[in-house]
Symmetry: C2
DNA sequence: CTGAAAGCGCTTACAG
DNA sequence: CTGAAAGCGCTTACAG
């Protein structure tokens, strides 16, 4: 990596232009010359410096990802989708975990400058104007899970409120009335929307008197804790809607520890349909989000934006969801 | 991002050196001058181009990760550990999924050249000599899950065979004799070692006549399939050791579908102790690997290597494991 | 305290 | 087909 194009040129007895040409196949080079270059490169273990390359070509062939975290099956699936299309297009991925802290977020953005051709940002906390301020002007970026109608950026969102509505409605049709909600992380766009969907369904069915909401943070352990909190209440719910599958799984675990049968005594619904949900015991009824497609689509959007930066028009996309019935409700 | 240091300098009426100085705090700059620069930078939405910066400083403050995949809780946890220490040290992470294909692997390496200060490579398939050939000479790199004693690279490994031995031994002490193994991905270093540990325990207890091994690939679905295969055999095992938790979870799901009680009819042990394992039903007995520490440690190693490239000496580390008994065995 | 200039490792017209 | 030179956007001695 210390060996430069200059060394290779010297060793091969040619100019650096020639070396560049054989490495980029950008012009025809005589076979013997080419051979000499290749040999020299091999001997010196030469690999072109991509930073230098980016600088001259002002293209990096990499997309930057700024996410609130990259952990758990939710992000895994989204990443998997992104990786698939990036890799097909011969793009690399640069990751920065923004942790939801604004200063950290700014730092991540700065770190990306000049090293990526486009940005995918999932920042469920930051709002429209702030994003406008923080995100560099000239770089194609798509926003995930925030500000559905941001005038300046492409946007991909999950139909959260619809999904929550579907989930709760399913429970109601099954005869449940006291349906508890385990909420996602506070201040988070998707959490708020899922809460809203829950409330809408409750209200629409005149069940407001039975409404009960407890806090969570989208993690299994927070779902576990929330379920215990629910069990401690004098009037226990007969059903729980957790704002994501991780919490639903955690909640089921807590219920089972307490010897409470799922779904017979308490029914549970989740949201996301992460892979684990079809392997749990009982299998989780949930709201299916095609997470892989979500990631895939987001990556496709940046890529087209990168390709024709000039003609690109802002587009807002909503990912549909559907109820998938398994065995955790009754 | 299109705005350069030159534009800022012009707008502020100073030289580019001065702009550079205020941005890097690398020398004292008069307050009024500084103010002018900052103002100009703000107006132009200026962010220093990191590619250019890397080139002149020949330091990138980023570590490249080449992994066989970045999906599932196993990788999530490892990544979480890496991210924590990288982020503390103010380093970014660049990811490339090598997918175990050699050509893809080479491409990943090339893509990293000049864009990272160090490399963490998990390539359970490639062997010592190949790695030597493929990895650029001058870049500090640590190898994960491969070639324990590679003479040229730092190495961090999990004590796989010991762990497998512990798991199987636990089952034997519980009175099981027909203990099936669900293997991990073929040709994989860690899979081979886990298989080896299984066989050692079986042999040491004179149980060779009961040995039964089926194939898997470290995924939940492969564990599910493998369990079904086991159930189809004329003599069913009374216990299953899955080479990782994901497969163990998949296997339990298959057993439960068939109405087989875990652990009463068939006991199950896993390996890794991914977060889900303490939330499953029943909770999974497994071999605990401190995955987060694994990632953390690997990142720490590259970072020290990056810091003193010259004095650094190759070091081989083994991560210890331990049996954690929960409720899936009996 | 600040500026002019060289240099980081490449690519790409421009000549020949 | 190949080379010399300019330039990408920075940083960093070197002067003053």
């Amino acid at each position: 990596m210390k060996n430069t194009i200059k060394e290779v040129a010297k060793q091969a007895g040619v100019s650096i232009s020639t070396v560049s040409r054989v490495f980029n196949n950008t012009a025809f080079v005589d076979e013997p010359t080419k051979a000499k270059v290749l040999l020299a490169a091999k001997e010196l273990h030469y690999t072109p410096n991509q930073a230098a390359r980016s600088l001259t070509k002002s293209e990096t062939r990499t997309i930057g990802l700024i996410l609130p975290g990259i952990f758990g099956e939710y992000f895994s699936e989204v990443l998997r989708g992104m990786d698939a299309v990036a890799s097909d297009a011969d793009f690399d991925i640069m990751i920065s975990g923004a942790k939801g802290i604004t200063t950290k977020f700014e730092k991540s953005i700065r770190a990306m400058a000049g090293r990526v051709d486009g940005l995918i940002i999932m920042s469920p906390i930051l709002q429209g104007a702030q994003l406008r301020e923080l995100i560099p002007v000239n770089i194609p970026t798509v926003l995930l899970n925030s500000d559905e109608e941001h005038p300046d950026f492409d946007t991909v969102n999950i139909n959260n409120s619809e999904g929550a509505y579907l989930a709760v409605n399913h429970l109601i049709r099954l005869g449940h009335r006291r349906i508890a909600l385990i909420k996602g992380s506070e201040n988070t766009y998707d959490s708020q929307q899922r809460t809203e969907g829950y409330r809408k369904a409750i209200r629409a069915n005149g069940l407001d008197q039975y409404r009960v909401e407890v806090n969570g943070s989208f993690t299994k352990s927070s779902g576990y804790d929330a379920a215990r909190e629910l069990l401690a209440q004098e009037e226990r719910p007969t059903a729980i809607f957790a704002a994501n599958d991780a919490m639903a799984l955690g909640a089921m675990s807590a219920l089972q520890e307490h010897g409470i049968a799922v779904p017979n005594t308490i029914a549970v619904v989740g949201f996301d349909d992460i892979p684990m949900s079809q392997y749990s015991n009982p299998k989780l009824t949930t709201i299916r989000v095609d997470l892989k497609h979500f990631g895939r689509y987001a990556m496709e959007r940046v890529l087209v934006a990168v390709r024709d930066r000039s003609t690109h028009k802002v587009e807002h996309t909503m990912i549909n969801v559907e109820l998938v019935v398994r065995s955790s409700c009754h």
